[in-house]
Amino acid sequence: MADVRILYTEEAIGAGHPTKSDVLNRPILVAHDASGHHSSVDFPALSMDVNGTARVLSSAAGVIPLSTSGGEIFNRGYTIASTYFKMPQTGKYLYSATLTFHGSTGINEVSVLGLYRNSSWILEGEIHNQFSSILHCMEINGIVACNSTTDVFKPAVWIYPTVASAASEAIFTFISVCRVAP
């Protein structure tokens, strides 16, 4: 990022000068608006109601399909593809995912909700279903690091064991992400 400090060789010019650039406000108002309050520049956020469509979850690892249109509740600069999202800046992000699903007939099935960063599995929550045909709500929350804006983040869900009867239907999936630290 650019060095915005005022140098001693510069004239101390404020806003609105007819010919000269604003020097004084330059470093002060980075990531702040003209009223001096914080702008959203350093805190990009994303909220998704994933894609609004019930999906059958396979009985093995599966990346949760993301909406690239109507499912976004709000999006401030994130790149959304069908199976992943990318952050607009490097930094530390609060990540929260909630998945409600309906177990079919599988008993003793294990369901895992997690997050990949590139090929690394970095966050995981698990629930063990001892009863068939009931609703579960799984939630995972964490702080995740985006080390490069090319990092690919993939929300994923696994259902065990690998039998057809363990297939489940996702009902509601909400994901929210917000940068909270550089």
């Binding site: 404020g14 001096g36 609703l135």
Partner: protein, 183 residues
């Protein structure tokens, strides 16, 4: 909000001049304290408990009842009524809801929803397989965008059959925290 930038027509006066206003620090210290660190101005928070009375929930949707008095642990500018709240400024808020329920006699589906006006922003549904006075805690955390300070936020609880009860006998068992985390 006011434009507080330093203008080229102003004198570059600092703090404590005997007759002139502080110009240099004016834009620097909005939403920051005198030490230069962030103040709470841009990050209002609310920590609130249920109203202290256990709330029976019949079949259908019911808004949780929040305290407007002693159960408010911290409030920096939120408007609270018994079943909803309004944010003090637009922006993105982290909302965390924790509830404790006790199943009465019949197992059924329960649904916890965070709403802005009538729009569902986040939702989690679960099925109680136990019954007869088994307690259960459930939480829901999500980001909520406040687009207008007139937006009304509430937490609704849906019950598919029969009744159960949301507990509020102790501080902290049915509770909500809200904090603005970005503009």
């Amino acid at each position: 909000m006011a434009d507080i930038r330093i203008y080229s027509t102003e004198e570059a006066v600092g703090l404590n001049h005997p007759t002139k206003a502080d110009v240099i620090n004016r834009p620097m210290l909005v939403a920051h304290d005198a030490s230069g660190h962030h103040s709470t101005v841009d990050f209002p928070c609310l920590m609130i408990n249920m109203n202290g009375t256990n709330q029976p929930v019949s079949t259908g949707t019911t808004s949780l009842k929040w305290s407007t008095g002693g159960g408010v642990e911290y409030n920096s500018g939120f408007t609270i009524t018994s079943t909803n709240f309004k944010c003090p400024s637009t922006g993105v808020y982290l909302v965390n809801v924790l509830i404790r329920t006790v199943e009465n006699t019949t197992s059924g589906e329960s649904d916890l929803m965070l709403k802005r006006n009538t729009t569902i922003l986040a939702r989690g549904m679960w099925h109680k397989v136990y019954q007869n006075n088994i307690n259960m805690s459930v939480s829901l955390m999500h980001l909520a965008l406040c687009e207008s300070t007139d937006d009304v936020f509430c937490v609704d609880y849906y019950r598919s059959v029969s009744t159960n009860t949301i507990l509020s006998s102790e501080i902290g068992i049915t509770r909500m925290e809200v904090c603005k985390i970005c503009p």
